[in-house]
């Protein structure tokens, strides 16, 4: 019982929130690119927050289910179908044994997430099930999924309470541009006043150099004071590094742990999904906020996800009406 990969798509990998605790030894964190879509997918199925999912990229895979389960699909819109019929996203979906789940190419966004109520049987390596492709570590044999691969489920779980309520509003990823809020630093003092003004007041373009490691932008030259080389230091998720060519590179899930270029700013965690769902030629602008504001946004999103969790645990309107009618009918017959 599990899933068989009929087509791997462009880049389909097993991911969770990443392998933390080992960066001091040179291990990249890896993990999902769009943390928000990932969390919503698991939330729709009452999965643990960090349960492993499939991350799909630009061209989606085709999967065959060898047992019944429940899934949720979030992130960019890859036009998912089950046995040829379109199915809704951001909704819990029953899947039967033998069903074929097929994705096309991304109409909006660039990454999608599939969560499973039966949990993927992927060994935990150093505290995580995520795939670190550079080190061939974790996930499914340390690599992307290909036709013929088979992943078992860990448990049987084909029932969820309040099933009809398990629908959420779609995140729309159809915009061609995004404004990313950033916290300046740690090395903004390496850049001239003019360089910082350029960074905050210009439009940048997403280039085709955009993968799980980072996103290279094209646009106006960001001037440093005296070169942007620094003694190598640690890199965070969303660090905006500016090498001597003066164009920003935003470092993402598969980033190396350390690097020797000055980092002018760091993208606020809640805005990283807006970046990773963009495509080549989309436009990016930056706006500076304080670290306190960025942390408030982070906590607001935690509250928002909690509210979603409560919402899908209430009986939906249609069911409530039926119950009410049944109750009235019962009193008629009982009297």
């Amino acid at each position: 019982m599990g899933i068989r990969i009929l087509k791997g798509g462009m880049l389909t990998t097993v991911q969770d929130l990443g392998r933390t605790g080992y960066q001091s030894q040179g291990f990249s964190v890896a993990g999902v690119m769009d943390v928000r879509s990932f969390k919503i997918a698991n939330l729709l199925l009452d999965n643990p927050e960090n349960e492993a999912v499939l991350e799909i990229t630009l061209i989606g895979p085709t999967l065959e289910f060898t047992s019944a389960t429940i899934i949720a699909i979030t992130g960019g819109d890859f036009g998912p179908t089950v046995n040829g019929e379109p199915v809704p996203m951001y909704t819990a979906l029953y899947i039967n044994k033998g069903d074929i789940l097929k994705f096309g190419s991304a109409r909006t966004g660039s990454r999608g997430y599939i969560a499973f109520s039966s949990y993927l049987e992927i060994p935990v390596v150093m505290g995580s099930r995520c795939t670190n492709m550079k080190s061939s570590l974790g996930g499914f044999k340390g690599r992307k999924l290909m036709a013929g691969d088979y992943i078992n489920f860990r448990i049987k779980r084909r029932y969820l309470p309040f099933f009809l309520s398990r629908k959420l509003n779609l995140n729309e990823f159809d915009q061609m541009s995004a404004e990313l809020r950033v916290v300046m630093g740690p090395q903004d003092d390496k850049f001239s006043k003019q360089g910082i003004e350029t960074f905050l007041n210009s439009e940048y373009t997403v280039t085709s150099d955009f993968d799980r490691m980072g996103c290279r932008l094209e646009g106006p030259f960001i001037a440093s004071k005296d070169g942007s080389d620094i003694i190598s230091d640690g890199i965070s998720f969303g660090s905006v590094q500016v090498p001597s060519h003066g164009k920003p590179i935003i470092l993402l899930s598969d980033r190396q742990t350390t690097g020797g270029y000055a980092k002018i700013a760091t993208v606020a965690s809640v805005d990283i999904p807006k970046l990773v769902q963009r495509k080549t030629d989309h436009k990016i602008r930056f706006r500076a906020i304080t670290v306190q504001e960025a942390q408030k946004l982070y906590l607001d999103e935690v509250k928002e996800l909690d509210a979603m969790r409560r919402l899908i645990h209430q009986p939906c309107k249609e069911v409530l009406e039926c119950r009410l009618v049944a109750k009235r009918l019962r009193t008629l017959f009982e009297s």
């Binding site: 605790g21 960066q23 040179g26 300046m184 965070s236 742990t257 760091t266 965690s269 982070y298």
Partner: protein, 242 residues
């Protein structure tokens, strides 16, 4: 401790900058700070990346606010005595130098104007401080290579360097933890697995530890390699104060 700066690195990380130069003293302070932070088990710290002269701390803003983590870290780096109390660990890494194990040994010896034996003696006669790990899992940035055997990188990098290769790249020396492309001049191989994802401790060493290369012959190399493959080889580790 007046040189220490705490810098923001987004909403979930903090960068503690201990100075702007590569020196064993600064590096020792960083290793001691990491040790103290680990001992305090501060809830909310997710990961730490110590480097040459700074420490990046990843934390969870749900547990710790920026002000809280900043205050906790300041309280630790303010302590002046941390550098004196640190232990020193030296890992012995056996190396089979030259021949098919070190295809560039000739280059290194010629460049230095020394014999192969002298190169081996110089390379294995000191303890190298691990300033940091990075680039690849378990790749160590070692300080203190003797200037006489500094050797420029290969003009044409190799597409594949086997795990366990020991080499020199400019003023640096180190061990390749896994198969990787690279341009270093290869002088030997260690049978020890410095990185093994299936071991309970995948990486043996930490930043702040030292490495001592110990020359071995081919018979010993094969003997240790056999033990290492079965997971039965333990590196010799010397522990003591600095």
């Amino acid at each position: 401790m007046q040189n220490i700066r705490i810098l923001t690195a987004g909403d979930s990380s903090l960068l503690v900058e201990f100075g702007a130069e590569i020196s064993p003293e600064i590096n020792r302070k960083i290793a001691a700070t990491v040790q103290l932070l680990k001992e305090q088990h501060i809830e909310g710290i997710v990961d730490m990346i110590p480097t040459y002269c700074s420490l990046l701390i990843n934390y969870d803003p749900r547990v710790l606010s920026y002000e809280e983590i900043r205050e906790r870290v300041f309280a630790i780096v303010r302590v002046e005595t941390i550098a004196g109390t640190q232990r020193k660990r030296v890992f012995e890494i056996p190396v089979c130098y030259g021949g098919e194990y070190g295809p560039d040994m000739d280059n290194i010896a010629k460049h230095a104007g020394l014999t192969e034996e002298e190169v081996i003696r110089i390379h294995s006669s000191k303890d190298y401080l691990i300033y940091m790990l990075g680039f690849l899992p378990g790749f160590t940035y070692l300080g203190g290579l003797d200037e006489r055997i500094h050797t420029p990188r290969l003009a044409n990098p190799r597409l594949k360097i086997s795990a366990g290769s020991v080499g020199i790249g400019g003023s640096q020396t180190g061990i390749y933890p896994l198969d990787s492309p690279g341009g270093w001049q290869l002088m030997g191989m260690t049978p020890v697995k410095t990185y093994d994802p299936n071991r309970e401790v995948p990486i043996l060493v930490e930043a702040g530890d030292y490495i001592r290369f110990v020359p071995i012959d081919e018979a010993e190399y094969l003997r240790i390699k056999d033990l290492a493959e079965r997971g039965e080889y333990q590196c010799t580790v010397h522990e003591g104060g600095v």
